[in-house]
């Protein structure tokens, strides 16, 4: 919110420098996001009087002699503007002057003649017509005759001033105005606040036809209307136009300017309706009908619903409550009677309407944060005061006040000094507490250490001792807080839980294997699901949709991690990394049903992705087996199927009988669709694994026990087999283990294919380790191996090679 420094000074005698004020505001909780010096970059620009002017023949230039007082009584300055005349007072930038935009004035030759300075336009000095009459003309700014020759133009044009752009926190709607900030400034400077003038006189004239009705008191708890007549139309005084202009309003017409001025000064948005345009001279505040329309002042038709609050006359809508007036009741030059409106509209309703219609106005911004009924009253009084003072109109004796009776006046409660200090942890003396509260215009009655506090009507945010404590420390100063290290708190047990520690070790294991941890967004789009060729009826298609995504690319919550990993890999290929290993442990979001009725399952998932010439299915499998091993688990791998993985290079990962995920090679048709250069696609080796980490968490072993070796003799036997090429290693292991309960370990140690073995055959060699409750003698080992060989022959047609 923009606040003009000189405007603040109307209400408080500020005795510190503007930049000190910025620091003090900051300390009181009002961050000044930007401090703008209006005379920024303007130096040595002074009032000059043109003592003579003649055309420079053969050019478009004029030769001026300019009296700049102490900056030279006769400066020769050439100008191209043709609105300059002898005796004109003009802004003259003399040699050595500076202008906004980095312009520095030096003597320079123009069309063969030296010019010693420059005459300035309004635009070059950053001022417009609202600031000073004539600033918008094409040409040089002609100053009033009263301007003093030689005076710094910043003084002449009131540019020696500051604008503070202050951010107001959501709990302080009362500070959305010059007056609101002035109250704070007065409090921390310890100065009295000079209230604006609220006085005015009513005539005896009434307008009995006017009626004001509020049908929707829930959305409009207070509505004030006042009748003014014999409205004159003229331009507002320069000081008012300047203030409006600095704060971003264009001056329009005195009465309209007054409504905007009050919005800035008091923080109360106002509206003026041309009474002639109100059918039945009546105002009705009601909810709009579904489909009802209104054309707002910006000449756009707005389609409304029951959720929008409409100001109506007897037959039609004339204004969008709290947001913008209707075009049909706009103030025009012929307007002679006006109904002035000051109201409180419910903040969330204004916010909803403003958002739904995409219509953001200064009035709406104030209503959205909240206005208080005290401000509504002050706003109307101040507007009428200005109407009278500026001679805009006469104030009739028909005034309206419709209220839901919500405002209970000043809130009062008791609080002890001890309670206040118990929040802060320091002992702020009672006298300081009382002084601070009084400076903030709280009423305080002391009864021992009990304070009966009366809250100013505009401070709707203050309800209890904690709020009072904040007021106190804000003014007393946070530098009084004495850091203390939880002296009164009980000792507690801290740190990571078992599973949090496991997860961290799991990540560290993967790092040790060369996998970088990545972080991907939890949202993506249906395109990601299409990318991995999920069938239409795949459960992963049941994804939670965001009602208000910022982009279509991030419109659903992910149900599967692999697309994110594929994107990470594709991005790294694009940046010319020839190989990479990545992992992420994060959630996928699985709704129990759609539309969502309860919090969905957030399933922690481990996703691993690798690519590069050295990678293969087995490099990834090695990592996953190692991952299982470091966690005391055993994974079993079976041939699997997955929409995005190579049909021949895809395994299901099974742990304790449950499928927990899969790994395999990314399908080529997906690789082909990746957004990377064609040349990089040909020999891409991308492997992915996705495991349900939450199941692993449930299987982690919390206890470990040492098992002593039973001291019995073990034995090892190698067995070589010729079997069908399609026979899986795991099938042979299973048969061996089924055939011999003493076979505690079966490990493939060699495999090869050769024509000599026969078509479609391969040779596999396993080492079997036998152990048991008894010593394994050679006889036992041999006969167990024999049994295994027979079983392999029976079940898989595998023949033992001798």
């Amino acid at each position: 919110m923009k606040i003009l420094y000189s405007w603040l000074k109307d209400y408080v005698d500020i005795d510190c420098k503007p930049l000190e004020l910025v620091d003090k505001l900051f300390g009181a909780g009002f961050e000044v996001e930007e401090t703008i010096y209006l005379g920024q970059d303007i130096e040595k620009v002074v009032v000059g009087e043109v003592t003579s002017i003649e055309k420079y023949e053969g050019t478009h230039l004029y030769i001026c002699h300019v009296d700049c007082g102490e900056f030279g009584a006769d400066n020769l300055i050439l100008t191209g503007a043709d609105n300059v005349f002898k005796g004109a007072k003009v802004p003259a930038a003399v040699v050595g002057a500076k202008l906004p935009g980095g312009i520095e004035i030096a003597p320079r030759k123009m069309a063969g003649m030296m010019s010693y300075g420059m005459l300035c336009s309004g635009e070059e000095l950053g001022v417009n017509d609202d600031w000073i009459k004539g600033a918008d003309v094409h040409g040089i700014l002609i100053l009033p005759d009263s301007a003093k020759v030689g005076e710094d133009i910043k003084k002449t044009l009131d540019l020696d001033d500051y604008v503070f752009d202050i951010s107001i926190t959501a709990n302080r709607p009362d500070c959305q105005s010059v007056l609101g900030i002035a109250r704070e400034v007065a409090a921390f400077l310890g100065k009295p606040l000079k209230e604006p003038d609220y006085c005015f006189t009513r005539t005896e004239v009434t307008k009995p036809e006017i009626s004001v009705t509020v049908d929707a008191l829930d959305l409009c708890p207070r509505y004030l209307g006042d009748y003014i007549y014999e409205v004159k139309h003229f331009e507002s005084p320069q000081w008012m136009k300047r203030r409006l202009s600095v704060c971003g309003f264009s001056a329009i017409d005195a009465i309209v300017d007054v409504t905007n001025y009050v919005l800035l000064e008091i923080g109360q948005p106002m509206h003026a309706y041309d009474l002639d345009t109100l059918d039945g001279k009546s105002i009705l505040v009601r909810r709009a009908n579904d489909g009802e329309t209104i054309i707002t002042l910006d000449e756009k038709e707005r389609k409304l619903t029951r959720d929008n609050l409409l100001i109506c006359d007897k037959v039609k809508g004339v204004g969008l409550a709290g947001i913008m007036g209707g075009l049909n009741s706009e103030i025009e030059v012929k307007t002679s009677e006006i109904l002035l409106e000051a109201a409180k509209f419910r903040r969330d309703n204004v916010r909803k309407t403003s958002r739904a219609l995409g219509l953001h106005t200064d009035a709406a911004a104030r209503f959205e944060k909240g206005v208080d009924e005290y401000g509504v009253e002050c706003g109307m009084k101040r507007a009428l005061n200005l109407v009278e003072k500026l001679g805009i109109a006469k104030i009739g004796n028909s005034s309206f006040d419709v209220t839901a009776g919500e405002d209970k006046g000043e809130a009062k409660f008791d609080v002890t000094v001890t309670k206040i200090n118990s929040v802060l942890g320091i002992d702020v003396p009672q006298s300081d507490i009382v002084r601070i509260l009084k400076a903030l215009q709280f009423g305080v009655e002391e009864n021992g250490e009990m304070l009966s506090v009366t809250v100013p009507r505009w401070r709707t945010d203050v309800e209890n001792y904690q709020d009072i404590a904040e007021e106190v420390i804000r003014e007393y100063g946070y530098d009084h807080v004495v850091p203390r290290f939880l002296d009164s708190a009980k000792v507690t047990n801290g740190g990571l839980s078992f599973l949090q520690n496991k997860e961290l070790s799991a990540k560290k294991y993967l790092c040790s294997q060369g996998f970088y941890e990545v972080r991907t967004l939890a949202m993506y789009s249906e395109r990601e699901l299409d990318m991995i060729l999920l069938p239409k009826d795949a459960p992963e298609r049941t994804a939670i949709r965001l009602l208000n995504p910022i982009t279509d690319n991030l419109s659903i919550m992910r149900t599967v991690m692999s697309p994110c990993m594929i994107n990470v890999i594709a991005d790294n290929i694009k940046t010319d990394h020839s190989a990479g290993r990545f992992f992420e442990i994060a959630n996928v979001y699985l709704p129990k049903s759609l539309p969502l009725t309860e919090q969905p399952e957030e399933r922690k998932t481990l996703c691993i992705g690798v690519y590069g010439a050295d990678e293969s299915f087995f490099t990834l499998k090695e990592t996953i087996e190692g991952f299982a091993a470091t966690n005391g688990l055993t994974f079993r791998f079976e041939r699997g199927e997955c929409s995005y993985l190579h049909p021949g290079i895809c395994a299901d990962v099974i742990c304790e009988g449950r499928k927990i995920g899969q790994l395999g090679k990314l399908r080529y048709e997906i690789v082909n669709e990746l957004n990377i250069a064609e040349g990089k696609k040909s020999d891409l080796n991308i492997f992915l694994a996705e495991l349900d980490y939450s199941v692993l968490e449930s299987l982690y072993k919390r206890e470990m026990k040492f098992t002593a070796d039973n001291g019995k003799v073990k034995a090892k036997r190698d067995i070589s087999l010729i079997c069908d090429k399609k026979t899986l290693c795991v099938e042979i292991e299973d048969v061996i283990k089924a055939a011999s309960e003493k076979a505690v370990d079966v490990k493939l140690i060699d495999s090869f294919e050769s024509e000599k073995l026969g078509l479609g055959k391969k040779s596999l060699t396993f080492t079997i380790t036998y152990a048991g409750a008894e010593d394994i003698t050679d006889e036992i080992a041999d006969s167990e191996t024999e049994n295994a060989a027979n079983a392999l022959n029976d079940k898989l047609g595998a023949v033992r090679r001798v």
């Binding site: 900051f26 959501a170 209890n464 939880l486 790092c511 060369g514 990545f582």
Partner: protein, 339 residues
């Protein structure tokens, strides 16, 4: 008396020419072995007169001992030589790369998260994790962010239904903790949060860490005292904090916490934009309404709460200029954070 000088000089000469283990073993067979020249001398004993036999035998033995010693010294000389040869042969270019793959590292956000956790764990904070998809009640209403209040606009929310949303902060963890545990409470809630915002310093998803302490006699002074310890461990022992007023619906008073700039020590630099201070987190005294919403008696207990943006701390600590880098996952970026 035979002095075997011819044999001795022969032995000496032959041994001198021995260059390796094979030749040495040939030498041994030829001179010192059972059928060797020196053993052969004993056969001459037969032709030696009996009275000279002892002397002869002794002399032959002396030759044997002499030759054996010579042999031993040659043997160790050759062993040493061959070992040296082997070492030379086996020498490698130690500057050649060792591992095919260097170990990787955690994501910088995880590194900083863990670093922060370990600081607070040392103060007795338990680490709890809660759902990322929340309801209005936990994310807003019970945190005193009421339905019609403009403070709802402080956080641009991603909505899933009228009631369910992507949590906009980790503060719902305060409610969930206080529903489940009674004071004394000291918890840390790290986690992903989501806001409808995206630019150089904002990402629609980022990481926050909530802290909550509820016990008897907790005040604003404890907040600053505790955060002083935290920032000193994160940013260096000379780091100071500064509190300044702010507003969060769930704390009262609410503060923004700045740390003295760890780059310039408070003198003013580009990192702190010349102010000497860097905003790092927000916090305050737990609003009594929040305690009441969780059935904790504010007349008995009070609390402090704070929320830290992990990306922000990470950007500050590691000098990362753009939020987007955390989610781009480029190897050139990821590889830099070896801890």
């Amino acid at each position: 008396m035979k002095d075997f000088s011819d044999i001795k000089s022969q032995v000496k000469q032959v041994l001198e020419e021995v260059k390796d283990g094979v030749q040495l073993s040939d030498f041994w067979q030829k001179y010192l072995g059972k059928t060797g020249v020196i053993s052969g001398l004993m056969k001459e004993m037969k032709s030696v007169p009996p009275e000279e036999k002892p002397t002869f035998g002794k002399a032959v033995n002396e030759v044997r001992v002499w030759a054996q010693e010579l042999y031993n010294s040659k043997q160790s000389e050759i062993k040493e030589f061959e070992l040296k040869k082997r070492y030379e042969r086996e020498a490698v270019d130690v500057t050649m790369p060792a591992l095919k793959r260097a170990p990787a590292n955690l994501h910088p956000i995880t590194l900083i998260t863990q670093q922060m956790i370990s600081v607070f764990a040392g103060m007795g904070f338990e680490v709890l994790e809660y759902p990322e998809i929340e309801d209005d009640d936990h994310n807003f209403t019970r945190l005193n962010v009421l339905k019609d209040h403009p403070s709802r606009d402080m956080q641009d929310t991603f909505w899933l239904t009228e009631d369910l949303l992507l949590r906009t902060h980790t503060s719902p963890g305060q409610i969930r903790t206080m529903d489940a545990e009674k004071p004394p409470i000291k918890v840390l809630v790290p986690g992903k949060v989501f806001r409808s915002d995206s630019d150089a310093t904002h990402s629609p998803m980022f990481m926050q860490m909530e802290g909550l302490v509820v016990d008897k006699g907790i005040t604003l002074c404890d907040l600053q005292g505790m955060l002083d310890r935290f920032v000193q461990q994160m940013f260096g022992s000379g780091t100071k904090t500064r509190l300044r007023p702010s507003y969060f619906p769930f704390t009262e008073p609410s503060v923004e916490v700045d740390v003295s700039c760890f780059e310039c020590g408070g003198k003013g630099c580009s990192l702190c934009k010349g102010t000497g201070w860097i905003e790092v987190l927000g916090g305050g005294v737990v609003n009594k309404k929040v305690l009441e919403n969780c059935n904790i008696d504010p007349e008995v207990y009070s609390g402090l709460a704070f929320g830290i943006g992990v990306e922000r701390i990470t950007m500050l600590k590691y000098g990362i200029p753009n939020m987007g880098m955390f989610f781009a996952n480029d190897l050139d970026f990821l590889k830099q954070f070896k801890a």
